[in-house]
């Protein structure tokens, strides 16, 4: 039982204290205090709140995320999203109105010699 068509869902009003791990997508309308380590796409929806580090395939933040984020694919902070923490992802997008309080760590390919002082 490795891959299920169903995605994990933490509904509004539900609090998870601890860690979540697995090969799944995940929607969060509730509250997660702990570590999230899932390979799929995680959506922290508008009412959702995550406190803790996330290691995910990709993340869409429409709610509040407090913690460092590592996404192998993409991080998207929507208009209503608030992310506090350092993020590392292959692709990062931040909508107008969205909040990202932290550093972005991406691989940047600068033109050769640009940083060498003349």
């Amino acid at each position: 039982m490795t891959q299920q068509p169903l995605e994990a869902y933490i509904g509004e009003g539900l609090t998870l204290k601890g860690s979540v791990s697995g090969d799944t997508d995940m929607d969060i309308d509730g509250r997660v205090e702990g570590t999230i380590s899932v390979s799929g796409h995680v959506r922290v929806l508008e009412r959702g709140q995550v406190i803790g580090p996330l290691t995910v395939g990709s993340l869409t933040a429409l709610g509040r995320v407090t913690g460092d984020v590592v996404a192998t694919r993409a991080l998207h902070v929507g208009e209503t999203g608030r992310v506090t923490g350092d993020v590392r992802a292959a692709r990062v997008s931040l909508d107008d109105g969205g909040l990202l309080d932290g550093a972005i760590d991406m691989d940047v390919a600068l033109p050769a010699g640009l940083l060498e002082a003349p």
Binding site: M1, T2, Q3, Q4, L6, E7, A8, Y9, I10, G11, E12, G13, L14, T15, L16, K17, G18, S19, V20, S21, G22, D23, T24, D29, G30, R31, G34, V38
Partner: protein, 206 residues
Amino acid sequence: MTRPSLIPGGVTVEGELSGKGDLVVLGRVLGDITIDGLLIIEEGGAVRGAVSASSVVVRGALAGDAIGQESVRVEATAQVVGDLRAPRVKVADGAHVKGRVQIGAEAGLSRRAVVHAPALAQPAAAVARPALAPALAPAPGHVATPAPVTAVAPVAVPASTTVGPRVRRARLITPASDASPAPAPASFVRPPLTMPRLTRVAAERR
């Protein structure tokens, strides 16, 4: 109806889940679950921890006590090591249960619960002959409800039962206790009630 929370197959939660709303477990939860809603541990799902919900339905594996404010239903595919407490308790024919049963209006209020630690790793066969609750008997004044076909409810441990205090402290039950039961204190001797009798009760109610 709002969307139920879901822990899908392949997903492991280590920690506790609490709050409002319904929850369906197809994966694995190592920790307590306390919700104000319906909890379903589906076939293939496994929980190690005490669970408390308005209603509990077990089709998978549960190592820990189940407390239902309204009901606890243990379906035929279930493997449960832990006590069952609720105003209404159903255990379907075919289910494997090791633990006490406490049925009554006050049963669902008790929050005392204990995790039955090694049970998740335990093969199904090891709990094939569970010891059940003391002397199941109709509750005095119990209002008869139309029992489901496979149900053994409504039954209850009356207040006057002689096997011990009505609400005993939950004990740690290990698989080893099945083979060589720990010596019971002189003041507490639990008459064994085995699965065949339970099935007989179920058969009589059909």
